[in-house]
Symmetry: C2
Subunit: 431 residues, 2 copies
C-alpha cells in the first residue's frame, strides 16, 4: 500500500495489511545471521510463521547493542553493491551505529520527509534553512532531501555560526527553520540581540526535532520567533527524521505508514494504546537496513484513530524524555522534562541545568535556573518568592527534596545542537 504521494492516509490499515508489511521485513532479515540465530531460537524459520500481531510481538527486540555487535554492516539486508549511502551515529563512546541505504531507500526517505513537511504546511514556495548538522548525522541530510523532493528552496547552512544564520535568514527571506528546539531558542535569543528586527524576517514555520522538548518550550519558541513550531521525529537507526510529524492540530505526531510502532514497559512487555512507555519501531519498506522491533529509548504514548486533519492511523505524543535521560535520585525516577515544565510554569526561561552529586551516601539534585535580564533586576524579594514557588512545585512533582539555584543571565551554555541538561557527578560505580 503506497500512500507516500498522499499526505493524508484516509484509509485504515487492517491487521492483515500491517502483518503483510511486517512479514515482508521479517523475510528481508531472515538471511542475516543475527536474526537467523535469534529468531530460530524461538522457532521462527520463515515469515509465514508470523500469523498474528501477537506472534510478531514474540520476536526479540533489537537494541543499539545489537547494531554495535554487528558493526559495521552485519545487519544490512542488501549486498554492498546495492548500498549507496552510509550514515552513522556520533558514537561518542565505542563503535558508532552504522546504517545503510539503497537508492530506493533514499528515494523513499525523501518522500517520507516531504510528506512530513507537507503535514506542517511547508510548500514548494518556502525557503527552508536547514540548521541541523550535515554529515554522518541523518538530521541535516534527511531534511535536505525531503525539502528537495518537495521542491522548496533549500538553504543547506548546517549548524553553528549564529550571526550568519540570522543574516541569511533575513537576506534570503527564510520562511522555514529546521533545527533542534534548543538551537531555535538560542537563535531567538541571538536575534533579540542582533539588531535584526523580527519584522525583517519572513519566518513562519519551525521544524524541530532530534531532542526531547516540552510544550512550554514550544510556546516559548513560537512566541519569540513569531512562528508555528512543529515537532518532527525520527532516529538514524529507523531511517532518520520523518518517522513521525505533527500536523496543525498539534494532537501528537502522525507516524508514517512505513513504520509500525509498539510501546513497551521497562521490562520490555507490550503496553497498550494510551500507556506511556518506550517506543519500539519496525520499518516496513526499508531495504538496505531494515529494523525489526528497534528499541528507540524514547518515552511516549501511542494513540490510534482519526485526527481532525483527516489522517487515520497511529499517532505518538511528543517525546519529552528518553530512557537514558531518567535519573534515579534516592530511588525516585526523575526526568528533566518534569523539571522543565515546572520552570516554564513559574515564568522562568528554559535555560537550566540539573546537577546531581552525592554528599556522603545521599544523592543531591541541584536545579540551576537562569534568570533573565529583567528578572535579574527584579526586586530581590519578588525573585525570592518565585524561587520558593519553583522549589515547592518541583518538590511536589518529584517527591524528593531538591536545591534550586538561580544563576546569572547567559551563564548556562547554549547549544547549537542537542542541549545538555544533566551533569551527573555521582561516581558511576557506586549505584
Amino acid at each position: 500500500m503506497d500512500l507516500a504521494n498522499n499526505v493524508s492516509q484516509e484509509t485504515e490499515r487492517t491487521e492483515e495489511q500491517w502483518l503483510e508489511g511486517l512479514r515482508k521485513t521479517v523475510e528481508m532479515v531472515l538471511p542475516i545471521h543475527h536474526y537467523q540465530e535469534s529468531y530460530g531460537a524461538i522457532g521462527i524459520k520463515s515469515a509465514a510463521d508470523i500469523k498474528s500481531l501477537k506472534d510478531f510481538q514474540k520476536l526479540p527486540l533489537t537494541t543499539k547493542e545489537d547494531l554495535r555487535k554487528n558493526y559495521p554492516f552485519g545487519l544490512f539486508a542488501e549486498p554492498m553493491e546495492n548500498i549507496v549511502r552510509l550514515h552513522a551515529s556520533s558514537g561518542t563512546t565505542g563503535k558508532p551505529t552504522v546504517v545503510g541505504y539503497t537508492r530506493e531507500d533514499i528515494t523513499l526517505w525523501a518522500r517520507i520527509v516531504a510528506n512530513s513537511l507537507k503535514r506542517a504546511g511547508v510548500t514548494k514556495k518556502d525557503v527552508v534553512q536547514i540548521a541541523y548538522g550535515y554529515g554522518l548525522f541523518t538530521g541535516g541530510m534527511g531534511l535536505h532531501y525531503g525539502c528537495e523532493e518537495l521542491g522548496a528552496i533549500v538553504v543547506p547552512i548546517s549548524g553553528g555560526n549564529t550571526a550568519r544564520q540570522l543574516m541569511l535568514m533575513r537576506d534570503f527571506g527564510t520562511t522555514v527553520l529546521a533545527c533542534t528546539p534548543s538551537y531555535a531558542l538560542y537563535l531567538a535569543e541571538s536575534l533579540e540581540e542582533s539588531g535584526i528586527s523580527r519584522d525583517e524576517l519572513k519566518l513562519r514555520i519551525g521544524v524541530f526535532g532530534a531532542e526531547p522538548w516540552t510544550e512550554g518550550m514550544r510556546e516559548e519558541i513560537e512566541q519569540r520567533l513569531g512562528i508555528k513550531a512543529y515537532d518532527i521525529y525520527g532516529l538514524s537507526e529507523t531511517m532518520g527524521p520523518g518517522v513521525a510529524m505533527e500536523c496543525p492540530a498539534h494532537k501528537g505526531l502522525h507516524i508514517d505508514d512505513h513504520f509500525y510502532p509498539e510501546i513497551l514497559d521497562e521490562e520490555g512487555n507490550p503496553l497498550t494504546v494510551g500507556e506511556r512507555g518506550e517506543l519500539v519501531i519496525t520499518s516496513l519498506d526499508k531495504k538496505g537496513f531494515p529494523v525489526l522491533r528497534y528499541r528507540t529509548k524514547d518515552l511516549t504514548t501511542l494513540h490510534y484513530g482519526t485526527c481532525s486533519c483527516g489522517q487515520v492511523g497511529w499517532t505518538m505524543d511528543r517525546v519529552s524524555a528518553r530512557v537514558d535521560d531518567m535519573l534515579i535520585i534516592r530511588g525516585v525516577n526523575v526526568f528533566p522534562s518534569q523539571i522543565e515544565e515546572a520552570i516554564l510554569l513559574e515564568g522562568f526561561e528554559p535555560h537550566y541545568l540539573l546537577v546531581v552529586y552525592r554528599v556522603g551516601n545521599l544523592d543531591q539534585l541541584e536545579v540551576q535556573v537562569e534568570v533573565n535580564e529583567t528578572s535579574f533586576f527584579d526586586e530581590v524579594r519578588e525573585l525570592e518568592a518565585r524561587q520558593q514557588r519553583l522549589h515547592k512545585r518541583i518538590e511536589d512533582v518529584l517527591g524528593i527534596s531538591v536545591r534550586i539555584r538561580l544563576v546569572e543571565p547567559k551563564s548556562i551554555p547554549r547549544s547549537e545542537g542537542k542541549a545538555v541538561r544533566v551533569v551527573d557527578k555521582r561516581n558511576k560505580e557506586v549505584k
Copy 2:
C-alpha cells in the same frame, strides 16, 4: 551538444558550436539589470550581436565584487520559484557571494561531477569518503551528488574529527578519499600515528581540490597514503567542484564542456594558449545563476588538444596559485607555490608558513619550515647544510633575500580545510 553521459569528448567543438553555447548564456542574462546596463554600454543589445569569439571577448568581465553588489539574488536568471538550492561563499569579510540552482542545474552538476569522478577511475563499486565541508560550501554537497549519480557508496562524513575519519576509513573499506590536499596530508600524518596500518585500508584514489597545491605535494600524499591523487577544480561562483578534473595521464585538468575558459593577463587582456594568467570561466548550460566571463583569481595555463585518454578539448594546468596569494615583497612577485616546490625538492615536508613583516621600510620574508621527527634528530651539521641549500634555492627562485627558520615537528598548525600559508604582518595601509 550533450556529452554528459559520455566521459570522453571525442569530437572537437567548432567555434560556431562554442558561440552557440555562449550566446545562449548571454541571452539568459540579458534581462538582468546588471548585464543590461554593462552590455548596453558597449552596444550589445541581443545575443545575436555576438558574432565571433572576438566579440565575446569584448564583454565586460564579472567579478566577485559584481556578485556582492547584486547580493543576494540580483544576478539570478530564473524567478525564485524555479530555484531549489542556495549556496554561499564563506564570506569572512562583508557579504557572502550567493549562488542559486534550479532543479535542472542540480541534475547537471551531479552529472558533471560524476563524469569528473569517472575520469579519475572512480566507479559505482567505490566507497567514497567525502571529507570536504558540507553546508553552504559547494565542496561537500557537489561531490556528494556526483557520487550518488555515479552510484558509489557515499560516506558523507564532512570535515574534522580526524581519528574518526581514519577509523571509518578502515572499517567501511573506503576506497576513495575526497578532501582538500592539505587535509589529505594531515590524514596521512595522523594515520602514521594512529596505530592503523596502511595495509588495513583499501584506499586507492584521492580526489583533492579547493586549494592550490603543487606536484611535490601530490607525490608526498600519493606516497604516504598509497593512492593515486587527482586534482579536481571548481568554484561556487561557476557551479562548484567539477569544472575541471585530471585524468590518469596527469597532463592537466580536462575542462568540462559545459564551461568556456579564457585566460587573462594582469590588466585583463586575453592571453593565448600556453600563457600563464588568470582563468576566466563562462557557464554554458547553467540556468539559475549563469556566469559570464567570471574572474576566478586562479592562475593557470590553458591548452587545447587531444589527450592520451582520448579526450579532445580544453585542459588547464593545476592551479598552484591564486591572484590573491601573490605577495609583493620589495617589488617582487612571490607565490607560496614557488617556495613550496623548493621546500619539497630539499626533502622537507610541505608544512611551512610564510611570515612577511617590515623592518623600517624594508619588507622581510621569513620562511618557517617544519623539520620532521627524523630530521629533527639529524646531525646538526647535516640539518644546517640542508637549510643552507634550501635558502639558496629559494633566493635563486625569488631573486630576493629571505630568512629560513627551521621549526619543531608539528609546530605549524594543520588544516582540516584550506591551509593557511601566509601571515602578512605588514601594515596594509602602507603599500
